[in-house]
Symmetry: C2
Subunit: 129 residues, 2 copies
Amino acid sequence: MNLLAIMTYESSPIGTEISCVMHGINIEILNNNILLKQIFLKALMEDNFKILDEVSHIFQPQGYTFVTLLAESHAAIHTFPEYNSLFFYLYSCRGQNDGRKTIKYLKQILNPSHMDMSERDIVVKSTKL
Amino acid sequence: MNLLAIMTYESSPIGTEISCVMHGINIEILNNNILLKQIFLKALMEDNFKILDEVSHIFQPQGYTFVTLLAESHAAIHTFPEYNSLFFYLYSCRGQNDGRKTIKYLKQILNPSHMDMSERDIVVKSTKL
């Protein structure tokens, strides 16, 4: 273990969080978990996110969760076929305004009728110490 | 496959998202990944979340990510020992105001000097259709 590296290493003090519900997605896409996984992974590649691990679950009678552990933190999708909607989440500690190519790609491919999106900075370095 | 069940099943139209940076955590806790995992899992049990799967990663020179795939969606922690802080995220599609016992437990055990927390409803049922 390199103690000097530990003492000097600092990740970005500000990251980005994006959470977004995409409404009105074609039901055939929403029920195709294999395709959704491909779209999600391709979207993350748009921003060059590095996927370190992944985990997924198919719910009964419907619904799909796919979570990726990233070098930059994590991202996930959760589907709600009964509402024709999909929830997307990304937290990246790489910096501000991250993940915009990812969300742009998802929007382009999934073509939702409308989206409820929240994007905000996540400040991990305290200003109160 | 029970088609009637698919046609009639509906998850809760409104869920909860909590994201929280906890600042000023004791560095010995932040660098103890095994202990952090135990604390995180115990916190999730406070709200009776059902853990379906999990994935974690230890970063070099420091930092730890632990993500759980839940029956209720997903939850994660990311540590930033260089800033004495930890990021916690939870999305639950079970209903509104969910996860409050979880965050209360984390706050009690990790004892941060201060927290930046966001809690909001996530509406997956469209009102525009």
